[in-house]
Every structure is written in structure tokens, then in C-alpha cells.
Symmetry: C2
Subunit: 142 residues, 2 copies
């Protein structure tokens, strides 16, 4: 084999999903600017208002990356639309105002234990769970 053969030892694949682009930075900034759950399209609009032009498809892709990385939480609104929020990285649940969207992160060690126990009891393994609380916050209740 001669040296004409491409040197495959230099292939720096460059892991996808890690490149710090203008668009990803912008999405991150917008996510930091609100603390309730917003849809991808709302976030896309907020970006426009900030003068940051980011394609809708890119917004969806970026949110998916962040969700996979555990940097944003994803919920489904009652009509099935996905809504996103930057959250703390520890496992937690949400208390959400049905009217204004104000969100409180809550932890419930007892609930975690309970779900595990129930699953064990019925022979289910590899457990995950969803728990969200909806209500009307003090401000909205008047």
C-alpha cells in the first residue's frame, strides 16, 4: 500500500449535535427568557421578535436535541401539542397554572418510591412515569 491512500487515522468524526451555532445559541437565550411551557411555534415567533431569524425546522431540531440531553422538559398540552421549558436537571414534576401557565417545579420522593413499589408489585421493570399537576394559581384565582 502506497501513501496515495487516504490516511484514515485522521478522521475526526466530530460528534453531531455539539456545534455551537448562532441558531442554537439564540434558542437557548429565548428558552432562558420565560419560565412557563411554550410550543415550538411560539418559540419560533419569539425568535423572530428578537430579530434572530431561525428556521422553524431548526427550532424543532434544536428543541429535540435539548430534550434528549435533558436540558429541557417536554410536556403535551391537552390537545397534544408539545410544549417546552428549560428546567433543572434533577428529576422533578410540575405544578402548572391552567390559566397563565405559571409553573412550579416540585419534587416528591414519596411518589417516586410509590411508583417503584407499585411496579414491583405487578412485576413490571424498567419503570418511568409522568406526573403533572394542573390548577389555578393565586394570581389568576383572584
Amino acid at each position: 500500500m502506497t501513501s496515495t491512500e487516504p490516511d484514515r487515522t485522521t478522521v475526526a468524526p466530530g460528534v453531531p449535535g455539539t456545534r455551537p451555532t448562532r441558531q442554537r445559541r439564540a434558542v437557548g437565550e429565548v428558552l432562558a427568557s420565560f419560565d412557563d411551557f411554550r410550543s415550538a411555534q411560539e418559540i419560533h415567533t419569539l425568535l423572530g421578535q428578537r430579530g434572530e431569524s431561525v428556521g422553524l425546522a431548526t427550532v424543532y431540531r434544536t428543541l429535540q436535541l435539548l430534550a434528549d440531553a435533558g436540558e429541557v422538559d417536554v410536556l403535551r398540552s391537552e390537545d397534544g401539542e408539545a410544549i417546552y421549558r428549560r428546567c433543572s436537571s434533577t428529576h422533578h414534576h410540575h405544578l402548572v397554572c391552567r390559566s397563565c401557565g405559571a409553573t412550579v417545579e416540585v419534587e416528591g420522593p414519596a411518589v417516586e418510591r410509590w411508583t417503584s413499589a407499585i411496579a414491583d408489585e405487578h412485576g413490571y421493570v424498567d419503570i418511568s412515569h409522568t406526573l403533572e399537576i394542573f390548577g389555578t394559581c393565586r394570581a389568576c384565582a383572584g
Copy 2:
């Protein structure tokens, strides 16, 4: 005034959503034939296999009626699709096998108390909540 005038005292409005039609009966029967969560389109297919022709829109409308009446539970699969199951009428949650869909209804008085307490603590009123547990059942885990 003569008797030619229509007698408006006999208007029996006839409450919508209460008429026992062939289509509604068929949907009810199919719902009784499985005990995991199925999508509207799956239910529509099952109806076809039974020889009961029911329009897809009618399936959606009927499921919505039953859900409003509290006779079926509606969940959102991970990709946002609505899935339905005939359930007991008392408040409960679900332990669902991610692989085969086998479902167990579970009650958790402690969890109900916990959600109320959390809501009170933060001044939220008029509370509701969602809680679902996903895992792999014994049969699927092998």
C-alpha cells in the same frame, strides 16, 4: 289564533349525545373487547374487521362523547396520539407495559393527598393531575 299555528310548547329538544345508534353500540362493543389502550384509528380498523362499518369521524365523535361522560380514559402516547380504554369510573391511574400495552389500574390515596398538599402549599386551587407509570411487564421482560 287558529290551530294552524305550530304548537311551540311541545318542543322536545332531545338532548344530543344520547341517541342509541348502531354505530355507538358497535364502538361500545369493541371497547369491551380489549383491555389496553388503543388509538381511534385502531378502533376504526377493529370495527371493520367485525363487519361493522363505522365512519372514522363517527369513531372520533363517539370516543369524545364517551370520554366527556367519563366512560373511557384518554391518554396521550409518547408521540402525541390519543389512545382510549374503557375504564372503571372511580379515579385511578395506570401502569402500562411499554411493549405489549398490558394495563393495570392502580389507586394511590397517598398520591392524591400529596398533590393536594403541594397545590395548597403554593396557593393553587381547582386542582387536577395526571399520573401514569410505564414499564415492561413480566411477560415481555421474559
